[in-house]
Symmetry: C2
Subunit: 259 residues, 2 copies
DNA sequence: CGAACCCTTGATACGCTTCAACAAGAGTGG
DNA sequence: CCACTCTTGTTGAAGCGTATCAAGGGTTCG
């Protein structure tokens, strides 16, 4: 049988699992190096007004943390919005003693938690750094004042939350009505189009995360994901080589995803 | 075997299914009768400032629609936020020809859609009136201007969306990790505490919706829900009589829900 | 009355998990 | 360097959970 095939240097392997560290010691305290690029990446497509950017910079605090740090805990009330400026993180739950159980992942410029600080309660999920990360915290009270002075800022926060509502609605819908194969086809197609749009050769999707984390996102076991990969490659839809997936039959994959 | 037991007049039965009507003709056009009570019920616990209420009233349009109307369509771009002022509605999907397939229900004072109007695209789900309803529409552009003038209004819209993000996160989490019995126990307990908090007798939960709609909320088939009810009543945890459920062993139910 | 709708119950089938075993790196320490 | 362990991914066998299909009874409405 074919092996994992990582020795031929096809793709970089995802990092190994890192134990969750509790107090998350800061490596260094970088003075604000994040610029306007981060805010436009995170708060919508168009550029922000310079004074809005200045207001954000004034209240933001930046932190560098090592892989494995607990970034957000669902056990303490959250007072800040939280942006992931660099690195990868995972949202999920940490049982009292056991290992971290991820539910979905967040990549470099993206929100870790834009919602729970507004509710005065705890976050719904824990967040753990998968790689070394840089996170940006926005205190809710200060952001609220900035929103009052800059209505456009309020508009963008609202749009950000609306996007998350939309995305979560789709996630819930898919979990209710689509089976594992369909969800995986969806996932694969989503990672397909924004990549190399070269119409000639087959699309190549590199898996940056461990396969068990992909399985967790799809709410299936790693065994099932492994079987799905083999099943699809046997049908000639994809070609799996370690952490590289070549999509051979895009149309057929779309047909499965549309089920 | 025991029958549905509705003839003894225990509880009001839910309405029968009504076919989805396409253009949804308005019954009558009520001039704004909704008061500040609706806005505080929908925009957070504390009372709004009178001028914020006035701003909302100025831009809101009210509509009365009969049961079965299509309130929100995921096929047209949505330009308004939508509040359910009276009656019950269901969110779900309408296949091209088939029947409506609900996913969750919304009750009297609540948001039908507070998010999709901000995104410039279509709504994620369709909404159908289960009973005769009264809905209130808020044009996004006008609401945005009102938010700029009344920062507290922006604060509440943000909190509303944050609540929805939280709720949907929990829904997705439960769908991933909890089985049908656990989800139903959760659902039952959620309808338990806010009701008669009388510590003496057993809690009584009246099912206002059809059982197949409850099943749809739990992402299970009606058959499975029926079996769950019998299973729990055989174990002595609940007592089912038509559309009335008496909770006999609250502690055991909580134990199942905590799984 | 029949027709349409709802709920229930049983038999069966399928999807996915669980459990167990194994192969292949990657880090560690002799 | 090699043995040892830890982690990951893969595969197979067995089993649970839920869906599907089919049948039947109750209620409401025309």
């Amino acid at each position: 049988l074919e092996t994992n095939a990582t020795s031929n240097g096809e793709t970089a392997k995802p990092m190994r699992q890192v134990r969750v560290r509790r107090p998350g010691p800061a490596i260094r305290f970088t003075p604000v190096t994040v610029g306007a690029a981060l805010w436009t990446a995170v708060l919508g497509p168009t550029a922000l007004a310079p004074e809005a950017v200045a207001a954000l910079q004034a209240i933001a605090s930046v932190r560098d943390l090592p892989a494995g740090s607990l970034l957000i805990s669902s056990r303490e009330p959250s007072r800040d919005l939280c942006v992931l400026a660099r690195g990868d993180a995972a949202l999920g739950t940490v049982p009292d003693d056991g290992h971290f159980h991820p539910e979905r992942t967040v990549q470099s410029p993206g929100w870790l938690d834009a919602s729970s600080a507004w509710l005065g309660g705890n976050a719904a999920l824990d967040a753990v750094a998968v790689s070394d990360v840089q996170i940006v915290m926005l205190p809710r009270a200060a952001l609220q004042q900035a929103m009052a002075r800059h209505p456009d800022l309020a508009r963008r926060i609202v749009a950000t939350l609306a996007r998350q509502v939309h995305a979560l609605t789709v996630v819930a819908h898919d979990l209710m009505h689509k089976d594992a194969e369909t969800r995986f086809a969806d996932w694969l197609l989503q990672r397909c189009t924004p990549e190399t749009e070269s119409a000639d050769g087959p699309q190549v999707v590199a898996l940056h995360e461990r396969k068990r984390d992909i399985a967790a996102q799809l709410a299936i076991t790693p065994e099932t994901l492994s079987r799905l990969l083999r099943q699809l490659s046997r049908k000639g839809l994809i070609d799996v080589m370690g952490y590289t997936v070549r999509v051979l039959d895009l149309a057929a994959l779309r047909a499965i995803a549309a089920a």
